[in-house]
């Protein structure tokens, strides 16, 4: 596979990790070759070994990991045999890497400009005289507005997208030949994701760099990469060009992955593998209004504004006025309906869901649930309210939302115990087992603790807990954001089935428009605490009226085949 023009040539790479339970092979006998100027995507679900492969190339495996077999040739150098001092010289100068969480990759107490200077000096690319100019120039190249000013900024003063640009500037400061981007846009908004990915692709072209993009998102990889490598459980299952992968996926796993990726023009059931039983999802007949929100407002006092300024300051001065996280929201959720609440981070969708859940008190406005204004009941005393069991929530991060010291059984039993819905221990056990079966969680897993469960299983425990009291309204806060696509496909289908059988209403909070399209009847688009647009899912997503909605839709990755 090695050709004259290839920059990186990996042959038979095997990476092993020494653990307490013996040696684990994270990567098994893989071959990858990367030509000069090429963009290669490595796609796989969690545990596929895609990140480990890149760490092996950069030789930054942690102490327990080692390259057990194979060779890595980079620009004529054997990386697997290179000494640590040679690697130090290569890293940053010839090959760079950008990581998932840009904030964690930056030193929080150093000005970003100085951090770029550090890299330049480390590799003798700049002296004390021209370091500042070169750093500002590096900032300009990643399209940061007013780079002279930003030079003096600290990471916490910048947004997530801005931080990722700084990290890219750091990685590219010394004009490396190879850039490895490990999930560079996970956790960023779609519009930011688009801007960051376009920046990476543009810089790659401009400089004739080679790039490896590591991602779990097949759509993203297909949009921005020339070639794609699909990995499963430490082995490569398929290598092909982006067009080929989407048009004619050769391997079963690739097909399964492609099917599970939400995209326009398909139904929920299309996400599942062929052999899955596909009873059609019963049609939805929304009934009377269940939840009515009128003029909902949440204000936060700005920090640093003193009491005197609050009382005597000009109430028109925006620096003194309280910050409105949610600004006059009005909408309805009907019985049996699922409504999507969409927007980018900071748009107030989480604040809204917290207020609806009665975990947070609104500043103004009414939340009328089944005829009763629950907005007037303080959040503190709502835990004991008779309406509490009827409004439940599924959280974004299934790991974070399960008490590490409770077994799955105890977690699901908690609501039943609190509201005394069960009579005696046997009844409780029976009901928990029934709930576990409803959400497709094997009953023998009930006695496990969260750290012994997989992500999908934890998500099911979270869902079982939320539906234990047969609520009327369930708020789903990005319930699949932390899951692999194949698990996401199963969980989304489960949610749709549960809604149909139990007659619940959903408020689905998400930033992923593809997912919202699949599961929601109506969509509300939020920006800056206000509703920009609302209407039926087809109307909003296919014929958007507001510019902002159009922008959001345009920012979604459009893989070549889907675009055609």
């Amino acid at each position: 596979m090695a050709s004259a023009s290839s920059l990186l040539d990996v042959q038979g790479l095997t990476v092993e990790f020494e653990t307490r339970r013996g040696v684990v092979r994270a990567v098994r006998n893989i071959d990858i070759s990367l030509a000069k100027g090429e963009t290669l995507g490595i796609v796989g679900e969690s545990g596929s070994g895609k990140s480990v492969t890149s760490y092996a190339v950069m030789r930054i495996l942690d102490r327990a990991g080692k390259i057990a077999a194979g060779s890595i040739r980079f620009a004529g150098i054997d990386l697997d045999k290179a000494s640590e001092s040679e690697m130090v010289d290569l890293r940053g100068r010839e090959m760079s890497m950008i990581f998932q969480n840009p904030r964690a990759a930056l030193n929080p107490i150093r000005r970003v400009g100085h951090q770029i200077e550090d890299v330049l000096r480390q590799h003798a690319q700049a002296g004390s005289g021209d370091a500042r100019d070169k750093a500002v120039d590096a900032l300009r190249q990643v399209k940061i507005a007013r780079p002279e000013e930003r030079y003096d900024a600290y990471p916490f003063e910048l947004s997530g997208g801005m931080c990722q640009r700084i990290v890219i500037a750091l990685a590219l400061a010394c004009r490396p030949k190879l850039l490895i981007a490990d999930e560079p846009t996970t956790g960023l908004d779609v519009t930011t994701q688009k801007a960051v990915m376009e920046l990476i692709v543009e810089l790659t072209r401009e400089r004739g760099m080679s790039t490896i993009l590591i991602t779990h998102d097949l759509g993203l990889a297909a949009t921005y990469c020339d070639r794609i490598v699909v990995m499963e459980k430490g082995a490569i299952v398929e290598t092909a060009t982006s067009e080929q992968i989407f048009a004619r996926p050769a391997h079963d796993y690739t097909r399964k992955l492609m099917r599970a990726t939400p995209r326009p023009g398909i139904g929920l059931r299309d996400l599942l593998p062929d052999d899955a039983t596909s009873t059609p999802i019963p049609p939805n007949a929304p009934g009377a209004p269940l939840l009515t929100v009128r003029g909902l407002v949440k204000e936060y006092e700005r920090p640093g504004v003193g009491v005197l300024a609050r009382v005597f300051g000009r109430r028109t001065d925006p620096a003194v006025l309280p910050f409105r996280a949610v600004d006059g929201l009005s909408f309805e959720v009907m019985r049996g309906e699922s409504v999507g609440l969409v927007g980018e981070s900071g748009c107030g969708k989480s604040t809204t869901s917290m207020m609806l859940m009665r975990l947070l008190d609104p500043t103004e406005g009414e939340i009328i649930f089944d005829g009763e204004n629950i907005g007037a009941i303080p959040a503190r005393s709502f835990a004991a309210d008779k309406l509490r069991p009827r409004i439940q929530m599924v959280f974004q991060d299934p790991t974070d939302s399960l008490n590490p010291r409770y077994t799955a059984f105890r977690a699901i039993a908690d609501p039943l115990l609190r509201f005394g819905a069960a009579s005696g221990a046997d009844d409780l056990r029976t009901r928990c087992e029934e709930l576990a079966r409803t959400v497709g969680l094997p009953v023998d897993l009930l006695d496990r603790f969260p750290h012994q469960l997989s992500g999908g299983q934890k998500a099911r425990v979270g869902i079982a807990r939320a539906i234990a009291l047969k609520p009327d309204l369930v708020v789903l806060d990005e319930p699949t954001a932390a899951l692999d696509v194949s698990v996401q496909a199963l969980v989304l289908n489960l949610l749709a089935d549960l809604k149909a059988t139990l007659g619940m209403s959903y408020l689905f909070v998400s930033h992923d428009l593809h997912v919202v399209r699949l599961i929601c009847d109506r969509v509300i688009v939020m920006k800056g605490g206000r509703i920009v647009e609302q209407g039926s899912a087809e109307d909003v997503l296919d014929r958007p009226q507001a510019d902002y909605t159009r922008e959001l839709i345009a920012a979604l990755p459009h893989p070549p085949a889907a675009a055609a």
Binding site: T19, R20, M357, L359, R380, A383, A384, R388, P389, Q392, M393, F395, Q396, D397, D400, S401, L402, N403, P404, R405, Y406, T407, F409, R410, A411, A413, D414, P415, L417, R418, F419, A425, D426, L428, R429, D447, R448, F449, G462, R465, A466, A468, L469
Partner: protein, 301 residues
């Protein structure tokens, strides 16, 4: 600790508990195996506990009986650690003193854990005025040099073992408040705490059944480290004549009694109780480090 009292545990649950327990034991064995010093510290701990429980029955002499014919004898086969000015056997006194010193340490740490830990959880979890009041009390205590404060408390309340326990607990209060407060305030925003609210748990219930068990491992580490300090503190008070009174065998008093004789050549009177003190403190500090490794989830791979 997590089981709700009203559930009668079916068979499967117990087996799961057992599996969890055995996996914890396996982990503990792994950590101790990887760090022999921790293993040594645990051996030392068992020795201390043994002495504290059975001390009075295993020692060769009555620790209080004086023998004027055998005063100030150097260590020998008859008297392993020698004898003091009154001819009392130092070995017997050192072993018997273990119980008193350990009792003071254990009770004071238990007290400060209960009061300081709960105050810290309340402070971190509820915030607002609770936080301000608890925080100011802790700050006030911190404002004094701690040993001087302990001296003051014992001097004011009277020379009793109860007051030593109380004084040791009070000076450790700010430390426990701070740890519990930080850990609780981090977990206050955790998803599982919000989930507990949604399932109808009151704030008080969440603080006690959700927050407390989750910060317990970190508190355990702190307790072990404080144990050593509490022993030192009790001995220190006795050394300067506050607290335990002679002729009760206690390491601090024994060091004080022997201090004057070191210059005249009778080094064994102060050395052996001092060594016992050192080993006890050493043991608890090492166990604290070992426990930190055991509860550190980063090492749990």
């Amino acid at each position: 600790m997590t089981a709700a009292p009203i559930i009668k545990a079916p068979q499967r649950r117990t087996s799961a508990r057992f599996a969890a327990l055995s996996s914890n034991l396996a982990h503990a064995r792994y950590v101790i195996g990887g760090n022999p010093v921790t293993g040594f510290a645990f051996l030392l701990l068992f020795l201390l506990i043994f002495c504290a429980l059975f001390g009075p029955w295993i020692v060769p002499y009555d620790p209080l009986a004086s023998d004027t014919s055998a005063t100030l004898q150097a260590p020998s086969w008859k008297h392993w650690f020698g004898t003091d000015q009154l001819g009392r056997d130092i070995f017997s006194r050192v072993v018997v003193a273990t119980r008193l010193d350990m009792t003071i340490a254990v009770t004071s740490v238990a007290l400060v854990f209960a009061v300081g830990g709960l105050a810290g959880i309340a402070s971190g979890f509820f915030g607002g005025w609770t936080d301000r009041i608890v925080g100011r009390i802790a700050d006030t205590i911190m404002a004094f040099p701690l040993f001087v404060l302990a001296m003051g408390i014992v001097a004011a309340l009277g020379n009793t073992v109860t007051n030593i326990v109380l004084a040791t607990a009070i000076i450790n209060f700010p430390l426990y408040v701070r740890i519990a407060r930080t850990e609780a305030s981090v977990r206050r925003e955790a998803g599982y705490v919000m989930a507990a609210r949604l399932t109808g748990n009151s704030d008080l219930r969440i603080a006690l059944t959700t927050i407390l068990p989750n910060i317990l491992p970190i508190m355990m580490v702190q307790m072990s480290l404080t144990m050593g300090y509490a022993i030192l503190n009790a001995a220190g008070l006795s050394f300067i004549g506050l607290g335990v009174r002679p002729p009760t065998p206690e390491w601090g008093i024994m060091v004080a009694e022997g201090a004057g004789s070191i210059i005249s050549g009778e080094w064994w009177i102060a050395l052996f109780p001092g060594l016992a003190l050192m080993l006890a403190v050493f043991c608890f500090n090492l166990i604290g480090d070992g426990l930190r490794d055991i509860v550190d989830p980063q090492r749990r791979t």
